[in-house]
Structures are given as C-alpha cells and as structure tokens.
C-alpha cells in the first residue's frame, strides 16, 4: 500500500514536469497548427546553454536561466521568422518536415560541440527531501518541479485568455483573414507565440536538466513525452496538458510499481495509445483536427 501511495505521489509530481515539457508544444500547435518536432531538442539545447553559462559566466541559477532565455529567444525568433513563417502556409507537411530537419541539425550540432557525454545541472535541491518518513518520501526537486510547472501553466493560460497579446495570438490562430483585417500581423503573432513557448521551454530545460541526465540525443525522448502529454490532454488546450501530464506520470509510475521498472516508459505509452484509440482527438481538445 505504501508503495502505491508513493507511486501516486511521485507520478503526479513527475506529471507536472511532463506537463511543463508538453505545454510549449501544445501552445505552438494551438496557435499555428504546427507540430514542433524539434520541441524536445529546443529544450535540451536550453539545458546545454544553461550549463555553459553556469560554468563560465555565473554561479547563480536564475541569472543563467535569464541569459539562456535571451539567447534562446534570439534563436527562436530566427527559426520562426526565417524557417517556419516561410513554410507555414504551404500545407501541413512542409513545416513538419522543416522542424524534423531542424531537430536533426540541433542534435548533431550538440554532438559536435559537447560530445556524447551525459550531463546534469547540479542543484542543492537534488539532495534534499521535503517529506521523509517511512510511508512517503518526496524530493524537494520534484516538488519544486511540480509547483513551477503549475505556476507557469496557469500564468500562460492567463496571458492567453486575458491580455491583449493573448487575444491577438488567439485571433490569429482561429481566423487568419479576420485577424489580419483587424490589423493584426499574424506572422508577428506567431513570433510572439514562439517567444512565449521558448521562455517556458527554457524553464522546462532547467528543471528537466537538473532532474534527469541528458545528452545530445535526449531531445527525442522528451519529444515523445511531450507528444504523450499533449495528445492525452488534447492539442492546443493548455490546462489539458496539466491533466495529460499527470495521467502520463501516474500511468508510468503505477506501471513501474505493478510490472517492474523496465515497464515504466512502456506503460505510459500504452495508456496513451489506448486513450487515443478510444478518443482520437484527446481528452480535452478544443482544437480542430487537420
């Protein structure tokens, strides 16, 4: 029984982190109907950049994060402006494959720069436990991950629903022509949406990088997790991602408890495939499927 409670708690907390990984992808899909196949690589790229700043520039985690966000915003704007915006109107396949190519480039560039060694961002949080009893132990890192994830997803939802920027972005996503007639530069809105996504992704990169080991090809792994989260929650639904993340985290940890650790990742994907074959549009999808 203890084991199950532990699995549920850890699963939910892990789910928060997964949701944060997935929310950027959901956002991009919701706004420009693009499945960002390089999403995981964006995240791992930011983890690598954070480590570089931590090693050479500053000891402060927040300063490193902010510097990384600045670098990544620059990168994201270039990608959005010169790659995605140029192909986004040319059918569904072209942008998908452009991002696929970008993913290959990022992975191999990381390999050339940093080599194949696994890395991890060192934090004090890793070694502290918030709750440590015989019944239950909760790592500070997992709890922080969860809280930050919830805070960011709520903040993102508020920005998208209440601010004028959010309204403009949503307008560009629901009806391009009408939005442009109202004087909204939709391509610029896409850049802003990418910027928001990049900020969230950098935070996810920090948290994931300090929780798990990563190396140049890890992006793919998190891309699939982001898929899972977003598909369970419904593409484009931000709060859905939170629930999607928790379902994925729970099913992974419960699967690991009942069938053994090797089945952890597998059981998560099985639940995903089952949900998808019953409800092909995800649990909370509002977005129209293309």
């Amino acid at each position: 029984m203890n084991v199950i409670i532990q699995a549920i708690v850890t699963g939910l907390l892990l789910g928060g982190l997964y949701a944060l990984v997935g929310v950027g992808m959901s956002m991009i899909f919701g706004v420009m109907k693009l499945t960002n196949l390089a999403h995981g690589d964006f995240m791992i790229l930011s983890s690598f950049i954070i480590v570089v700043f931590l090693q050479h520039v500053t000891n402060n985690m927040f300063v490193a994060l902010i510097l990384t966000i600045i670098v990544m915003l620059f990168f994201g704007t270039i990608v959005q402006k010169f790659l995605i915006n140029r192909v986004i109107d040319k059918g569904a396949d072209s942008p998908l494959l452009v991002m696929f190519g970008l993913s290959v480039i990022i992975q191999n560039a990381l390999f050339l720069i940093f080599g194949p060694n696994a890395q991890i961002i060192n934090t004090e949080l890793m070694r502290t436990n918030i709750v440590s009893t015989q019944m239950l132990s909760v790592s500070a890192l997992h709890l922080v991950n969860f809280l930050v994830a919830v805070a960011i997803i709520v903040a993102l939802t508020v920005i998208m629903n209440k601010s004028s920027l959010g309204r403009a972005i949503r307008a560009s996503s629901s009806n391009i022509k009408a939005a442009e007639l109202m004087g909204i530069n939709t391509k610029r809105m896409y850049i802003y949406a990418m910027g928001l996504t990049i900020i969230v992704t950098c935070v996810a990169g920090l948290l994931v990088g300090s929780t798990f080991m990563y190396f140049n090809f890890t992006g793919t792994q998190y891309l699939i997790i982001a898929f899972g989260v977003v598909v369970i929650g419904g593409m484009g639904s931000l709060m859905g991602t939170l629930i999607g993340g928790m379902i994925l985290g729970l099913s992974q940890l419960l699967g690991a408890t009942f069938f053994g650790t090797p089945y952890q990742t597998l059981s998560g994907f099985l639940v995903l495939l089952i949900i998808l074959s019953i409800r092909p549009q995800g649990l909370f999808s509002k977005a129209i499927r293309k």
């Binding site: 196949l37 790659l83 898929f227 598909v231 090797p262 990742t265 994907f269 998808l276 499927r289």
Partner: protein
C-alpha cells in the same frame, strides 16, 4: 513527328535503365572490394526511401514510425535464425509475415487517428515496440542478438539480396502507381473527399498501401540486419532509420520514383565520405533538406524535371491521342 520523338526518348530511357541494371547486377565482377558494401547500403536505403515515399508521398499518410517494420523484420530474421536455427531465407519470409500481421493489427486503432496525430502515434508505436522488446528475455533484453549465420556470408550474396529488395521496391511502386489502384491513391492524396465521392474506397486503399509498404519495409529491414549481423532494440527501433528515409525522400523528391534513388545515393555517399567526422554528415543533410523544402519542395528530381523535363519512371498517364494545339 512528336510521337516519334516520344518513342525515341522512351527507347533511350529503357536503354538507360537496362544498362544501369546490367551494371548493378555485374557489380561484384567489376567493382572494387570497397564498392560492394557501399552499394549494398545504397540498395537497402533505396527500398526504405521508396516505401516511405509510397506511404507519405503518394497517400499523404505521413508516418514517422515506419522503422517499426525495419526493427520487426530484423528481429524476425534474428530470432528465426538464432533461436529456431532456421535458414536465412526463412527468416526473410518470417520478416514479411510478421510485418504483415503487425501492420494489419496496428492499422485498426491507428487508422482512426488522423493527420498530425497519426504521425505522432506511429512514432510512439515504434518506440513502444523497442521498449517492449528490451524487456523480453527471449530476445536477450536490450543486449541484442548476434545473427551468426550471416557472418559466413560473402559480401556479394548480401549485395544481391539488397539489390533484389531494391528492385522489388521500385517495381512495386511503379506497377502499383500505374494501376487503377494507384490512380485512386493519388486522387486520395490530392483531395480525400472528392476521391471518396468518385468511388475510391478510402479505408481499403489506405490499408492496402500501408500493408504493402510495411511488408517490403520489413523485408528490407531483414536485409539491413543481415548486412549488419547484429541487432539490438535501440538500433532496430531507433528513429535514425526514419530520419534517413525522410531525408532521402525530401532531398531526392517527394512523390517521384527517381527521387528516393537519388536521395539514397547522396545519403550513403555523404555518410561514407564524412565517415571520420561523425555528426557532420547528418548536420549537412538536415541543412540540405531544410533548404530544399524552402526553395524546391519537390527535391532534386523536381528541379531536374523543371529544367529538363526528364522523367524516368513516369507514373503519370498521358493522353493516348496527341492533338496539335491550335
């Protein structure tokens, strides 16, 4: 006059194809030792590219999980040879059967899913298969299996198998697309609703295409692992295969038969050339792919076609009567 010219170019085309085939078949007799393994790889990648192209370039089912069948084919060969002691050709038959059955089973849930979700789901299925096989004692977990029967094979035998697979894949796509079925496929890709209204059975057409693509992919996968001689889940179900397929098709030209051939040659040659610098070849290929999507969405073959009008394996139907424009 015009028909004569057309016939003449046709003769030239047939001649070129026959000469190319003759050169490929006699390659072990005239080629250097180093050429045979490279051509083996090119042949297998041609098959991979053709099958991905058949599925995604012609039917619009963009799948990023076709490496599931490469892995299944490889494992079918490895298991039947190592665990059951069957000869290698039985392994190839098993690869076809296993791929067929898996494609048939997985098509039931996966065809309900459309668009991007389909793309994602195929990937997740392939990834899950790899994870599943690494938990099985029967296939030696994630440690992998040596396919010892392949160690004694001469390189020319492996080359001929690869050549056979490549020829079968090209022929299959060519004949399929020239048939009535292929017409339905292309109609479906261009406009699903219109095609259905004209009597194309969507589900059946997609399913057939998926099955054919999967079976040949499985056999090509078995050929690949016969060439490698060793299989483990991470390599068998790695996304690298699909990355290669996609790059081959994009660089060569989506929706053409010549495209994957050109793409496969470029991919294998570039990798071979940059063998001492791992990472660079994929970096360059990724960049080439992106640039091509931006400036020439139809790939190299599209460019060639635009400037010279040359097409080797045309699957387009031309009107039989040629009327002079007035």
């Amino acid at each position: 006059m015009k028909t004569l010219l057309e016939n003449k170019t046709n003769t030239v085309k047939v001649g070129v194809v026959i000469i190319a085939l003759a050169l490929l078949v006699t390659l072990p007799n005239w080629g250097t030792r180093g050429m045979i393994p490279i051509f083996t790889l090119i042949m297998i990648y041609i098959a991979f590219g053709q099958m991905w192209n058949l599925l995604s370039g012609y039917t619009g089912l963009v799948s990023l999980g076709q490496h599931a069948f490469i892995g299944l084919g490889g494992y079918a060969l490895a298991v039947s040879s190592e665990r059951f002691g069957l000869p290698l050709y039985v392994g190839f038959i098993m690869a076809a059967i296993v791929s067929f059955l898996f494609a048939l089973i997985i098509s039931v849930p996966i065809f309900k899913i459309k668009g991007v979700y389909f793309t994602i789901c195929t990937w997740v299925v392939a990834h899950s298969l790899g994870l599943f096989l690494s938990t099985l004692a029967f296939v030696n977990y994630a440690i992998g299996i040596n396919i010892r029967a392949t160690f004694r094979l001469p390189t020319s035998t492996i080359y001929y198998v690869a050549l056979g697979v490549a020829i079968v894949s090209v022929l299959a796509v060519y004949l399929l697309l020239r048939s009535r079925f292929g017409l339905g496929l292309m109609a479906m890709r261009d406009d699903e609703d219109a095609a259905e209204a004209r009597g194309v059975a969507l589900y059946k057409t997609k399913l057939k295409c998926f099955l054919i693509s999967s079976v040949i992919m499985g056999v090509a996968g078995a050929a690949m692992f016969m060439n490698l001689g060793f299989i483990l889940p991470a390599s068998a179900f790695g996304i690298d295969w699909t990355i290669s397929m996609v790059i081959i098709v994009i660089v060569g030209g989506k929706g053409t038969i010549e495209g994957p051939i050109i793409g496969a040659v470029i991919l294998v040659m570039l990798r071979q050339w940059l063998f001492d610098f791992p990472g660079y070849s994929m970096l360059i290929l990724g960049a080439i792919a992106i640039i091509l999507i931006l400036v020439a969405p139809k790939g190299i073959m599209g460019l060639v076609h635009r400037f010279t009008g040359a097409e080797f394996f045309s699957v387009r139907r031309r009107p039989k009567r040629i009327t002079e424009p007035k």
